[in-house]
Symmetry: C2
DNA sequence: GGTTGACCCTCACGCGACGTGAGGCCTCAC
DNA sequence: GTGAGGCCTCACGTCGCGTGAGGGTCAACC
């Protein structure tokens, strides 16, 4: 900290804002520098910088400048602002996590070849947002952060890679349909081979052990539209796939 | 979904936006409803709703409407948008987590009676932000989410509660200073009693086992300003406190 | 002590993303 | 057929700055 306080430019650089922004905050009385030089230069001291810090957090949280002014000029103890901002920021982080989960749900649907209804897609932006959804991904995926793994592994994938995966998935589905039609029984050697092949496909994205494999397939075959996709390949396929995967998982338990 | 598509109001309610917003998106060509009734009513179909979903995510991420239009009208495959939005949202979530960590750092400093410099406070908003900071809290606090615990426990605290804690902390510090001046040796019975009392204070906020106690004290007594606070009570107190806590932690290892 | 370049000042207009009516038509249930 | 609620199109207002314009200041170096 310079001995006589910060100039506009100096403080602006520190805070990652423009000089114009500090001018504006001065104009509207939100952050008036505690001193000016004889020639009219603004000088900000440590208390000004502290106030600016609070302002920037509240602004980031979406408060209007007059709301921020009202908050900061209220008779609250400084630590109250820290606690308030901590609470609001954690809420915001959780909200963003919900958006992430919602996107994962869409991606999952897309990769499974099913379409979400507009209601499902827009649910998260709607008014009464059910917090039960918040934990849905956890329940579905178990403890591990499968999606983080998936994202990590597919970060550098090109469109061609994705298309290849889609092709392989389609091929896998056909293989399953053929086996089902041919009368392969869940628990048989051939069925277990197919279950492992199916699990191997999932492992392109994340580490799926047998318990997780059971969970994922249980979830997807419970979805009407996913069932529709499998049923269109061969009626009864989705229930059969579930049975195959469960028998295989039991054998590895 | 209504058979003939959504009206403005219907879609607006679903998406948690105002009718005016949809009108605006129509005006600027960002989201033009696929149909109109004979009397001029806007009708949005599922594809429109899907486009709106993408728009809302991008908008939430801070893109301008024309940027969003450019993105959506580019020749990208739909899944690319999902992947892009997933990546941007996780980055955003991590950024908010950094803000949370920064506030925790401020709270911690405040409760320890030390003041951060403006540089330290504003660092997170500055230009070149060191991602090493991102993991600082983890290293300091270990595996457990101590701050979440702390927040949980202190959620309903009143200002009086906080003042009481401050008083108790000050009293604790004086007790420590007296023992130090009286020549109490680290590792002695009395010193271990004091270490446990100090740990008990921390337990008002979160579960601190002996390893964590060692970590927290090691960190704080490494900070110049924290040392200054302790040194002003009694020269040598901070190093002594660290020795006392480490001896106690060793004995419980 | 003059010049140069980076800073600082005060107007003042512009803009993006809607908010907020105004004035009027449509639809549907009673 | 009538009232309530929803829809339409203007059109001006607002908020948080961006972006110059025109001009003074400061520190350094010639």
């Amino acid at each position: 900290m310079p001995e006589d306080g910060y100039t506009v430019g100096g403080l602006a650089r520190l805070a990652g804002v423009t000089v114009r922004t500090l001018h504006h905050y001065d104009d509207v009385g939100l952050l008036v520098p505690s001193r000016r030089t004889a020639t009219g230069y603004r000088l900000y001291d440590a208390a000004d910088a502290d106030r600016l810090t609070r302002i920037l957090y509240y602004r980031d949280l979406g408060f209007g400048l007059d709301d921020v002014a009202a908050l900061l000029d209220g008779d609250t103890d400084p630590a109250d602002h820290l606690r308030t901002q901590h609470r609001l920021l954690t809420e915001r982080r959780d909200r963003v996590q919900e958006l992430v989960t919602a996107i994962e749900r869409e991606l999952e649907a897309h990769m499974s070849g099913i379409r979400l209804t507009p209601e499902e897609q827009l649910e998260i932006f709607g008014e009464r947002w059910d917090p039960a959804y918040r934990t849905e991904a956890e329940e579905r995926w178990g403890d591990t952060d499968a999606w983080a793994q998936s994202q990590e592994r597919t970060r550098s994938w090109t469109k061609a890679d994705w298309e290849q995966v889609k092709e392989r998935t389609d091929a896998m589905d056909e293989l399953l349909a053929e086996a089902f039609v041919a009368g392969v029984q869940p628990g048989s050697v051939r069925a277990d081979e197919l279950a492992e092949a199916h699990r191997a496909e999932l492992n392109r994205f994340y580490d799926a052990d047998h318990a997780m494999h059971r969970g994922v397939v249980g979830f997807t075959t419970g979805d009407e539209r996913f069932r529709a996709r499998y049923e269109s390949l061969a009626p009864g396929l989705s229930d059969w796939l579930r049975a195959v995967v469960e028998a295989n998982a039991d054998r590895h338990a």
